[in-house]
């Protein structure tokens, strides 16, 4: 099999402006949603209590919510998780109250619902209505704040580290354009999370950072080719070199991303609710990663004025001997 039968270099650079405008629009949209809707942070960041309970029969969520409210919980969120029998309950932090006891109090409330007055739901005191506690997570306010700070620091470290490495291995122009292209991926992933109000949790943060490393990787492969082409082939203009580099790596780009995406899709299908948003963040990251690291980073390098002289200036002889 050979999927990619390309006779001539595809003139990507001719459409560079179009690609970048598309990018810019998506980016601005993402920023817009981030600023208007904001991220739906998980309990880990905001602090509060999160509980997962499982019933033998699908419970009435409205009733649970009412019971919790009447027991004095402010603004509890009750929703299904995975299946209709699994219920996720979120209770925000309350000042003063002994927050680490919230879990027990919520369970007490849920028990009351089981023994409640609604005859439709409760035929008898059957075990069907007693919830089984699967998971409790309580996060105090100081932890959440730290996590947000650490997340920002981690992002900063990744950006600086990658830029330094690329500047050292290649050239500052490559470093700058790779990081611009890939940061814009990160913003777009966040934009999706803001737009759909998907829950932004710690694993999602991990996915976002992993994607950042992964898509830079993509730019590196193209840049490697650009450098090689500059060294090997004379008489090509910069856009031609870039076109050639992208074309000759496009099959690898698509096959690699396809393979990674197979793994991620498998996580989406089999990973259940716990890995759902993690896999979703990766999917968006991989799709936009291909686009941005190839079609956004390369034009940026071109506009920043990359040229043959930057690679083959002083050590022409030696370099060519190696190749």
């Amino acid at each position: 099999m050979e999927f990619f039968r390309i006779r001539k270099d595809i003139p990507f650079m001719r459409h560079a402006l179009v690609f970048n405008i598309i990018s810019l629009i998506t980016f601005l949209l993402a920023v817009f949603f981030l600023s208007t809707k904001g991220l739906h942070f998980s309990v880990e960041f905001t602090g509060g209590t999160l509980m997962e309970v499982s019933y033998a029969q699908a419970p009435d969520l409205r009733q649970i919510r009412q019971q919790l409210e009447s027991d004095g919980f402010v603004d509890p969120q009750v929703q299904n998780f995975g299946s209709s029998r699994d219920v996720l309950i979120r209770v925000p932090l309350t000042k003063g109250a002994e927050s680490s006891k919230v879990g027990e109090q919520v369970m007490a409330s849920l028990m009351k619902v089981g023994a409640g007055a609604d005859p439709k739901v409760v035929q008898s005191k059957a075990p069907a209505t007693t919830p089984e506690l699967k998971r409790v997570e309580f996060v105090g306010p100081q932890v959440g704040k730290e996590l947000a700070e650490d997340g920002a620091l981690a992002l900063l470290l990744v950006v600086v580290g990658i830029m330094l490495y690329l500047a050292f291995r290649f050239e500052w122009r490559f470093a700058l354009s790779a990081i611009i292209a890939n940061m814009h991926d990160v913003v777009i992933i966040l934009g999706f999370f803001a737009f759909f109000q998907w829950e932004f949790s710690l694993p999602v943060l991990a996915a976002v950072l992993a994607v950042l490393g992964y898509s830079v990787n993509e730019s590196v492969v193209v840049f490697d080719r650009v450098r090689e082409t500059f060294k090997k082939k004379r008489g090509m203009t910069t856009p031609q070199v870039l076109d050639h580099a992208i074309t000759s790596t496009i099959s690898r780009t698509i096959i690699t991303h396809g393979s990674t995406q197979m793994m991620v899709t498998s996580m989406l299908i089999f990973g259940g609710a716990a890995l759902h948003y993690f896999a979703l963040a990766l999917t968006i990251g991989i799709l936009f990663g291909i686009y941005s690291s190839v079609l956004v980073a390369s034009p940026l390098v071109m506009w920043l004025g990359v040229s043959r002289e930057q690679f083959v200036k002083p050590k022409v002889e030696k370099q060519e001997a190696v190749v």
């Binding site: 099999m1 006779r7 105090g140 694993p203 096959i255 393979s259 890995l275």
Partner: protein, 622 residues
């Protein structure tokens, strides 16, 4: 010719064998077991205990599958969970005849079911995180300010006795915020006091001050001393938590310091979170203070005190019987001085009692206090989050020396046991607060393992099928390299005993999905070389060599992201980061070195290689 030198082939082979060896324990699964550990430092875990356990099982006619004695526990491996429960009960009865005064903790546990020779080379299954095996995780914050105030309180008490010993007259010693103030009438006595304090209390910084007509000496803790006290407080709290958790009978609890002022507690397998939290959450500190008997006997004063206006220098508490009493604010002793507390019976009256042991300094103070206050009452208070509770307020019958104290009267056996437990476990150096809690049920843990495993397996299969049909034999080699990568990764995780969490499994899957990139790069490059008209052997050499620089660059950028996560991530993210970073390292080795070794082995020797099986190589214009 593409041949690897012998050492390279040997390295690959040895790596594979080691990888297989250390991955092996994960396949054997785990067997139910009972773990016996000592609760008291006086009872060591040794061969004698092993014999005792063996005898206990024999009498209950339970045949153990195996018994292991390690540094601090005896583990008995059993056939199934039913016998496990029976065995636990049998051992419990045999070792702890008095249930109230347990010497050993007997807990249910799981041990690796792999053969002994594997255990002996330290090949253990991966260490599963709480989200995979079920259990409770707590993050506790130590109140450092509380630790300092407590220390200042006891310094205040020390200063009082010091002043008395040196017969320096002072107008009162009191703690004011984070300082201790001593009042004097004359400047001379103050100078004298300063001299004495400077000699005996090197931790204190002394400043003169004037408060109206009074002269004051204000003492604050030096920063170095503060730091030492805080460090000590965390250590002491960890020790106390260890003791408390031992009482719970948990197998393999994790109690670690995190950061400057935090403690992580993980209790695998614990389902009764309410009890665990109850015991941990007793962030109680112990104080012994004198009861103001005169005022307590005065009904009108007591009336006022009950309404929130106790006489100065005292505090109003309600005893467990419901009667109110006034306790002096001055602290005689704190829980730090207490070395042990055991329930028992009074020798003469046979009433339930609690026996306390004090350390030497505590014993001296106690002797002084009791000599001066025979016939008076002293109160033992548990202070929880600033709120005190009188555990007991016994009458001092006689001077008590030697540091052996007995509290008796108006107590049931159960109460005596409770009080002893509280006193013994209750000596936290500083108050603590639970700031994070995570509980995972055992069924969810098993589900998470299944989900993680299935995602990885199906993803792997999909990639394998694609690679093999697209690159044929080279694809097969790539898949072999990817399997080797998985093998190395699992072996490393088992060897390091790094905690594997659900995000960790996700990281395994993702790492595999990303690691295939290196092989795709190589295979594409080899195809390209073939397309360019190179001979197969030259194409292999050039393909691997040219792909190498790219692979290195791209993996390093990914590694940078992984390391950032490792540094700043906590909890689930750290689990992800550890696996991710390890996976990048193993993937470089397996995708480049292992796959090359295999390709060399297949094609390398053939002098006249006409074609390689790498799928169709399409040439433009042909």
């Amino acid at each position: 010719m593409n041949r690897y030198p012998l050492w390279k082939n040997a390295t690959v082979l040895i790596a594979l064998v080691l990888g297989l060896l250390y991955t092996l324990p994960n396949f054997f699964g785990e067997a139910p077991a009972v773990q016996v550990a000592s609760v008291k430092s006086t009872h060591k875990v040794d061969a004698k205990l092993l014999a005792q356990v063996e005898a206990a099982l024999k009498t209950a006619s339970i045949a153990p599958q195996g018994m292991v004695l390690d540094l601090n526990s005896v583990r008995v491996r059993l056939a199934d969970t039913d016998t496990q429960l029976k065995a636990r009960d049998a051992i419990e009865r045999a070792l702890n005849p008095v249930a109230a005064d347990a010497t050993y903790s007997v807990a249910l546990n799981l041990v690796s079911d792999s053969p002994n020779w594997l255990n002996s080379i330290n090949a253990l299954p991966m260490y599963l995180g709480l989200d995979l095996r079920g259990g409770v995780h707590f993050l506790l914050q130590v109140d450092m300010k509380g630790a300092l105030t407590k220390r200042l309180d006891s310094i205040g008490a020390d200063l009082r006795s010091l002043m008395r010993d040196k017969s320096i007259r002072h107008g009162g010693i009191s703690r004011e915020g984070q300082t201790v103030a001593i009042r004097f009438r004359e400047a001379e006595t103050r100078d004298k006091a300063r001299g004495v304090l400077a000699d005996s209390q090197p931790d204190l910084e002394l400043v003169d001050a004037q408060d109206g007509a009074d002269l004051k000496l204000v003492a604050t803790l030096k920063p170095v001393a503060q730091k030492r006290i805080q460090e000590f407080a965390v250590k002491q709290n960890i020790t106390t938590l260890h003791n408390r958790i031992n009482e719970l009978g948990v197998a393999e609890p994790v109690i670690q310091q995190q950061g400057i002022d935090r403690i992580v507690v993980q209790l695998p397998g614990v389902q009764d979170t309410a009890k665990a939290k109850d015991i941990l959450g007793r962030t109680a500190t112990l104080e012994v203070r004198m009861v103001d008997d005169e005022a307590s006997a005065n009904p009108s004063v007591m009336d006022q005190a009950a309404r929130g206006q106790p006489p100065p220098g005292t505090e109003y508490y309600v005893e467990r019987g419901g009667r109110g009493l006034l306790v002096k604010k001055q602290v005689v002793l704190t829980g730090e001085r207490l070395t042990d507390a055991q329930p028992g019976f009074d020798n003469q009256t046979q009433e339930p009692a609690v026996h306390l042991s004090l350390d030497s300094a505590g014993a001296r103070i106690f002797k002084d206090v009791t000599r001066e206050s025979v016939g008076k009452r002293m109160a033992i208070l548990l202070i929880e989050k600033g709120k005190g509770e009188v555990v007991t307020a016994p009458v001092i019958r006689t001077e008590i020396g030697g540091g052996r104290v007995q509290i008796s009267g108006r107590m049931s056996t159960v109460e005596a046991h409770d009080v002893a437990l509280l006193l013994r476990a209750g000596s936290l150096a500083a108050p603590m607060e639970i700031i994070e809690e995570r509980t995972v049920g055992p069924s969810l843990g098993a589900e998470n393992i299944a989900k993680g495993f299935n995602s990885t397996m199906w993803g792997f299969i999909a990639i394998a099928v694609f690679m093999m049909s697209y690159y044929l034999l080279f694809g097969l080699v790539s898949v072999f390299a990817l399997s080797a990568n998985l093998l190395f990764l699992v072996a490393l995780l088992s060897l390091l005993q790094a905690t594997l969490t659900l995000p960790g499994i996700a990281a395994i899957a993702l790492t595999l999905g990303m690691a295939i990139d290196a092989n795709v790069l190589i295979n594409e490059r080899v195809r390209e070389e073939l397309r360019g008209g190179n001979s197969p052997q030259a194409a292999i050499t050039a393909g691997y060599e040219r792909a190498w620089a790219t692979i290195l660059d791209s993996n390093i950028t990914t590694l940078i992201a992984g390391i950032a996560l490792l540094i700043f991530g906590s909890g689930p993210v750290r689990g992800f980061a550890v696996v991710h970073c390890l996976g990048i390292l193993t993937s470089i080795f397996s995708s480049v070195v292992v796959s090359r070794a295999l390709i060399n082995w297949i094609y390398g020797r053939r002098r006249k290689l006409e074609a390689v099986s790498i799928g169709q190589v399409w040439k433009p214009g042909v």
